[in-house]
Symmetry: C3
Amino acid sequence: MKHFLDLEDINNIDTLISEAISLKSNPFSSKKLGENKTIGLLFFNSSLRTRLSTQKAAQNLGMDVITMNLNSDSWGLEFEDGSVMNAGTAEHIKEAAAVISQYVDIIALRAFPSLTDKVKDEEEQVIKSFQKYASVPVVNMESATAHPLQALTDAITITEFKQKKRPKVVLSWAPHPRALPHAVPNSFAKMMQMIDVDFCITHPEGYELNPKITGNAPIVYNQEEALKNADFVYAKNWSSYKDYGQIKCTDESWMLTLDKIKTAKFMHCLPVRRNVVVADEVLDSNQSIVIQQANNRTYAAQAVLKEILKNVAE
Amino acid sequence: MKHFLDLEDINNIDTLISEAISLKSNPFSSKKLGENKTIGLLFFNSSLRTRLSTQKAAQNLGMDVITMNLNSDSWGLEFEDGSVMNAGTAEHIKEAAAVISQYVDIIALRAFPSLTDKVKDEEEQVIKSFQKYASVPVVNMESATAHPLQALTDAITITEFKQKKRPKVVLSWAPHPRALPHAVPNSFAKMMQMIDVDFCITHPEGYELNPKITGNAPIVYNQEEALKNADFVYAKNWSSYKDYGQIKCTDESWMLTLDKIKTAKFMHCLPVRRNVVVADEVLDSNQSIVIQQANNRTYAAQAVLKEILKNVAE
Amino acid sequence: MKHFLDLEDINNIDTLISEAISLKSNPFSSKKLGENKTIGLLFFNSSLRTRLSTQKAAQNLGMDVITMNLNSDSWGLEFEDGSVMNAGTAEHIKEAAAVISQYVDIIALRAFPSLTDKVKDEEEQVIKSFQKYASVPVVNMESATAHPLQALTDAITITEFKQKKRPKVVLSWAPHPRALPHAVPNSFAKMMQMIDVDFCITHPEGYELNPKITGNAPIVYNQEEALKNADFVYAKNWSSYKDYGQIKCTDESWMLTLDKIKTAKFMHCLPVRRNVVVADEVLDSNQSIVIQQANNRTYAAQAVLKEILKNVAE
């Protein structure tokens, strides 16, 4: 693995999941690997889990960590080729990415979508530009359309908790007061087609995700029907993809409850709005595995960073 | 010691002071203890001394440090039980505290009071919620009503500088343009009742601190009388506790001067407003020990973290 | 070297350049030197290169690093002697510098000029106050009038790339939409008089830098004439020094192009506004050495920190 921009960068998902689970039981086993190596964690947006778990993962591998809020700590970045930079942006990504590459051995990056310009968001300009102009590996800590570290975390968690060879996994849309990105559901849907699960998606009509990503995954508009016999229910809000970035449905009856998920395990990437996305009774029950899921963020990141470091060393 | 939320968490104050003084002369003696351990320093408010000294203390013990400004780097936190989270807050403390606990081995927290809602401030919702939902030790880096690391620092400093077995220590209110919290005077008053000093408090009428905290400590409304024969004068402004959070007195004559403190040592937790709280002549004299006092912040924090780490290891 | 406030603090420039180049090929060779030492990187202003490279340099030397945005993370600082602090500032530099000195072994500081008050900016109040009241070495990460780490970087870069004993180096003013400080051109002009180069400066009339700094360096108002036979062209905008902080010229014809620099190497401290200061064709050509120049920021900082650490140890 050179970069980790999306799930396609994974050579073998089973091996990577095994590696993560192995690191979880022995987190400091590769502490020599990252010696004298530095990772730069660059944030254009807020972060709690990603910020802490990626830092912890890197430190477990013996790396030094430099964290920066790119918007507030540094200069406004320009991404357009050939632009005459006489306005708000002070530094071009060509220089920024090349320069940062000289100070750190891995660049990890978070950059959310605009949710107003579909074409531009789908071009993944920020992370693609970093990849293009950086001379070191780039890791996606959630980009406009993908959150592969989260999806890897989810696959690890399902592997740990599943009680049958091929569990039924349902991704359910849920209400939310704000317009949210598609990165998490996109990467989750993609990942569920990479591992051995019986996967379906449920959401109100008009909330279809990008069909290139959901592929052959069945879409069931009736939430109750979709949730039938589910082993894992993954709740997540997203804004409309068709009417890009808009909120088309605020139907509270889509909120997940114990009555709906029955005996299924409940998953969510967090942060989660209680009693809007999911009822307290679910999160406070033994069926919720969101905390254990969040814990796996560390080992997902650590498995990816370890692969990248090994590749750099070779 | 499991948590360090308030001075009641100290088993034996004399032992802890001795430990701190011993670490001061040999700060790296326990560097193995914190190996592969991480402390998360979480700030809801500004900090200089606490931010630097706690980080230094942790590094002296061999720990990794992750610092976060919770308000700006991360998501708005919800503390109310059962709330329907369809407004400003994106993550509930139940998830946040449980999740953070998985990435760090100790959580240290700063969260100032509102100074508008006395009941709520006294409930210490933020730090108590972290304690409740975190699975790792929680350290108070100044909460709504207490600043125990500062009070421990103060006790260390008095121990170092005292020239008689039982020195006279006076806590004097002083003027300030802003409404300030009660955390520092509260913890100082409490600590002075834990060590062997002759303690009294002086402030304008109406500025009584919480009587449950000041206990039997004499209150003298006449500053001059209170300061008589003082060995240590500790200046600090606080807003009214009775008329909660309000400024009731701006009488400049309460400012501390050399003339008033005579030969006493001068202490303050810093930051201090010169020529408002205390005259330049005091801070610039040999009687001021505010810098030495601030230095002890490192060793107070280090002694506490060392006790917690030892407890975790057992 | 005790402090590194300006280029005058360098004992022997040739030795320091050699040290930096030697560290570049063996960056971890002095990792024992910084063990149990902490550097505090204190920023009043934005930074990318300086923030990352100084941190990397310190870590290469085995130091712990604490980074703070002084304005947002901490308290407003007061610099005036004798002021009655009843307004916006909460802490005096006398306390702040003395206190910070106890938590870190080296203070590194960035504080830009006002560009409105020439006298005050030239007094270098912020960094000089830190030097005055700190008890540990202070390093300039760009002050009101000087950026010596950048100038050292520039000297290293010219040493590496020069193909004749005494190359011709031209500092050329270039257009920019904002009023910029004089720190970089000041320090570059000073440095070019410390090493063996044929140096001249070109800028529109009225843009003369402080003559005490430019000294005997020839000033040529005709850019084309100045650039003739240049081996290195260093582009940089600055605001007027005479009409302090003002933009007197926006003439786009001063932008650097391939046609103008001919076969010269192109340098800039970055961030650079493309197609305003310099054309894409220059930055995207082999003649641009701005990325390699930025890389040397790490080794300039590392050479300086190493000298300071050695001095502390003695």
